[in-house]
């Protein structure tokens, strides 16, 4: 009798330990996938912002070329053109890079919490970056990001930076993600709004560049007749090489939305959809990365 009670107790304890381990492992897996998704979204967003700069420089060059080609009084054209983006300057790009750093450091910190990571070098590096973010937020350097409906990006960055610095004081990943859901939503909403406006700019540039080449093809056709087929080929090749496809913005914003939903899932790990919601982030992030790697 005593032996059977002992065996039964061992079984109950083992099952309980297994269940706890399984839950722990699931939390680890969710945090790791969230981290991977967050990095993918941040990389895509950064690639997009670089595209905004590239599109401006390409268009600025061909705008000058078009003006030269259509004005016969103009005798000089400088083939070597040093571009200094004004639409999204390098300084403005750096501010956005730091905002994306806040998101990826936050995701890294969540993973470190679930791993019980004790990497002091990593801690020190992320803490330094977070302190820099806090200082920038205090100077309201993130205020330019967002629109009327989105306020408090500085406060949102500050909250996330504080968590990164003091994350050991909030060891439960669900509590941390629940508390930072609002700040993350604020940052994502600001980025999405900006992406839409930048997408408008890209669309305008795409059409402007196409118009310039279309005009050249039209004149070539009038002057060269059937031989203008070669001009059409060249124009097509050039546009294919030069144009930045603005439709990518939609996928980028879908991935950003998935990031917010996945964070909410981390805050509610017992919900039935938690794991699948985080899988959606991984999928959409991967799709965004593929699009932006494939595009110019």
């Amino acid at each position: 009798m005593r032996i059977s009670v002992f065996v039964a107790s061992i079984c109950v304890l083992s099952l309980s330990a297994c269940s706890t381990l399984a839950r722990y492992s699931e939390t680890q897996s969710n945090a790791a996938r969230f981290d991977r998704g967050a990095h993918a979204v941040a990389a895509s967003e950064m690639a997009f912002l670089h595209q905004v700069q590239n599109a401006e420089c390409t268009e600025a060059y061909y705008k000058r070329a078009y003006a030269y080609a259509t004005d016969t009084r103009d005798k000089n054209f400088d083939l070597v053109f040093q571009c200094h983006p004004t639409e999204l300057t390098n300084d403005q790009l750096q501010i956005r890079l730091k905002l994306l750093n806040a998101i990826t450091l936050y995701a890294d910190s969540l993973t470190a919490l679930t791993n019980g990571s004790n990497e002091t070098q990593l801690d020190s590096n992320s803490s330094d970056v977070a302190k820099n973010l806090e200082a920038l937020a205090a100077k309201e350097k993130f205020s330019a990001i967002g629109t009327n409906t989105i306020a408090g990006v500085n406060a949102a960055v500050s909250s996330i930076a504080k968590f990164i610095i003091e994350r050991r004081e909030e060891p439960k990943i669900a509590d941390a993600s629940a508390r930072l859901q609002g700040p993350l939503e604020t940052i994502v909403a600001a980025l999405k709004a900006e992406n839409i406006d930048d997408g408008q700019g890209l669309k305008s540039k795409e059409t402007a560049l196409t118009n310039d080449f279309a005009l050249a093809v039209r004149v070539a056709h009038e002057q060269r007749g059937p031989a203008s087929l070669l001009d059409i080929y060249q124009a097509h090749e050039a546009l294919d090489h030069l144009i930045v496809q603005p439709q990518d913005v939609g996928q980028l914003n879908v991935a950003l939305d998935a990031l917010v939903s996945a964070n909410s899932a981390l805050a509610n790990p017992k919900s039935a959809e938690a794991s699948s919601t985080i899988s959606i982030l991984v999928r959409e992030g991967r799709a965004a990365v593929t699009l932006f790697k494939a595009s110019k």
Partner: protein, 114 residues
């Protein structure tokens, strides 16, 4: 740096400029002569330049940069008014010309509020 109201005005001006461009585009494609196509393309490009400046102003995180960008935008409102006149002279379809000019007028009003 831009206030929330200024950012909204900039976003609205961006949309108005895009609306005007979207109306101009089919006219460029269907322009009966190269000369008209060039004139309309010039107008499109002029609006695109204004759009770039709006985006620059919107992205400014610095007071000095924003006030300078907003100043440039306001000083170029006169240029947009010239565009309005030019477009009326180029586009033979009065109804479409009025729509394009209407959108540019909206953009000018939003820019004035920046």
């Amino acid at each position: 740096m831009p206030s929330q109201t200024q950012k909204t005005n900039i976003a609205n001006a961006i949309q108005s400029i895009r609306n005007a461009q979207n109306l101009l585009q089919p006219l460029i494609n269907a322009a009966p002569t190269v000369s008209i196509a060039i004139k309309l393309t010039n107008e499109y490009n002029s609006l695109d330049t204004c759009l770039s400046q709006l985006l620059h102003a919107k992205n400014s995180a610095d007071d000095g940069v924003f006030s300078s960008a907003a100043g440039v935008l306001k000083s170029q409102a006169g240029g947009l008014q010239m565009d309005e006149k030019a477009i009326k002279a180029i586009i033979s379809d009065v109804a479409i010309a009025d729509q394009v000019v209407g959108h540019i007028g909206e953009a000018i009003r939003y820019i004035a509020m920046c």
